[in-house]
Symmetry: C2
Subunit: 333 residues, 2 copies
Amino acid sequence: MKIAVDGMGGDNAPFSTVKGAVDAIKELEVEIILTGDSEELEKELLKYEYDKSRIQVVHTSQKIENEDKPVKAIRAKKDSSMVVAMQLVKDKKADAVVSAGNTGALLAGGLFVIGRIRGIDRPALCVCLPTKKGFSIMLDAGANADCKPLNIRQFALMGSIYSSKVMNVEKPVVKIVNVGSEEGKGNELTKQSSELLKSEKGIIFGGNIEARDIPSGQADVIVCDGFTGNVVLKLIEGVAGFLMSNLKDVFMSSLKSKIAALLVKKDLSDMKKRLDYSEYGGAPLIGVDGALIKAHGSSDSNAFKNAIRQAAGYAKANVVGDISDSMVSLENE
Amino acid sequence: MKIAVDGMGGDNAPFSTVKGAVDAIKELEVEIILTGDSEELEKELLKYEYDKSRIQVVHTSQKIENEDKPVKAIRAKKDSSMVVAMQLVKDKKADAVVSAGNTGALLAGGLFVIGRIRGIDRPALCVCLPTKKGFSIMLDAGANADCKPLNIRQFALMGSIYSSKVMNVEKPVVKIVNVGSEEGKGNELTKQSSELLKSEKGIIFGGNIEARDIPSGQADVIVCDGFTGNVVLKLIEGVAGFLMSNLKDVFMSSLKSKIAALLVKKDLSDMKKRLDYSEYGGAPLIGVDGALIKAHGSSDSNAFKNAIRQAAGYAKANVVGDISDSMVSLENE
């Protein structure tokens, strides 16, 4: 399994990407192609002992910045670490690509460099959310701010395949984010999408899920438009951060509470880690004709290694092939 | 100040509504008109010592259930506790009305029994969210699943008036929920709404707010469509509940952690209470031509009393009159 890694993407690159890559080859059966400024990358690599035959550096002269306009950056910076890494997947020289760089550029690159799976109108960002019962996946987490019912239907199909092949859920239940649990609730998009999902044979549709119930794990696959999904994802982050900071205040408020803090410090930090979705690797852009994983922009080397692990699993499970097959069979119906 | 109280609305009525009313007249300068089954209400009232001249019971023969279809219920159950309470405001026999009953019916009643303020197309549910800096108000929290930019603009105007008159914020900053902080981000609705808000002289527009930043209190007034607002409100509830339940598990996991729990029990419960938006009374349906407050369905007597307090404050601040005036001046521009 060969993984292309955008060596320059992310807030902590190239430190995080290089260390993530070195740690990955030690834990996983993968080879890595690191793209980026070879001087910078080699300098980082020198810090570690590792099997040099398993990490290859491909020099690129450009870098896409967070401030760059996505589509323009993809078109103008053909020799950027991100575009070159994606091109490796397009040219079948790598099985998957991971980047923690500019999200918009990555989405644009998915469309323009790698391309869509035939039959998929809009690829979707798919995130993994920790829940009371384990994990749910949610798509679209932000690739498409405006969606049509047809897109939501495709998200449901792709999510079901991902859930069964990568998350090993035997019969994944799909629910749609809505403002009530009863049928007939919602906005025009959710009403029309629900009608499509009800009659879709390729999925197990469980109806609506209210945002309140997302953390309780009532669905294996949660579908919504990318605007709603992005609000959900970022609000989980915001509320969790707010509560943890309030908790910190509670623990710092008196001598008694400081003692309590010492007693549960380790358990609390474990809990925080368990609930942090960025710990669980990256988000695949499902629907693109290749395994493309978006790692969190603030990924440290450990999160980045987990994103590489996820990329390998995604490629190995052949999710792209399965989605492609299911689209062909839909076409032939 | 006379407050009409739907005595039969809510999961814990009439216990919660009657006790809430009795407690309210002891703490606030209000008189209460309780609507509902007089036998049941009088039986509850008998439990308490209070100034009988300040609580009046108006008998009604019907009750709107949570399962009732909103518009149908409002039309068919004219002698329900909810409709009669709203009619008291319409007829100027009460200054405000509070109900913890069927939300959809209350929204429909706001439109069909009380009516809209002239110039307002869609009234909005306005909730108060605890933040790092104090409170933000958010509207629409769920009255209108589909919105147009014009509605968002009206929410911004009404929210600004509410924020300055009721929350005493001198120069309330309005932000719109969006998927990025930069200009030009978002879906069609937020893009078009932002253009309207930028040129609206009646508000101070601060641009976008990402969902992640909602708890940090970066805006006094947060505007969004009712679908998004409802997702935000319910997800805050869901994530907070999930974290508190994880925290409970941490505290129950060992003898050491159980000791820690005992040391911070009181502080934690205070924190939980401080962060629970339902503690802060109800949500006014702003834009209706009268003070209409929706209390949380699960309100206990304390939450219900707080909703009565909020209704009194809302009526006293004359928010309805101010919105009405600002609509007239818009018309004359």
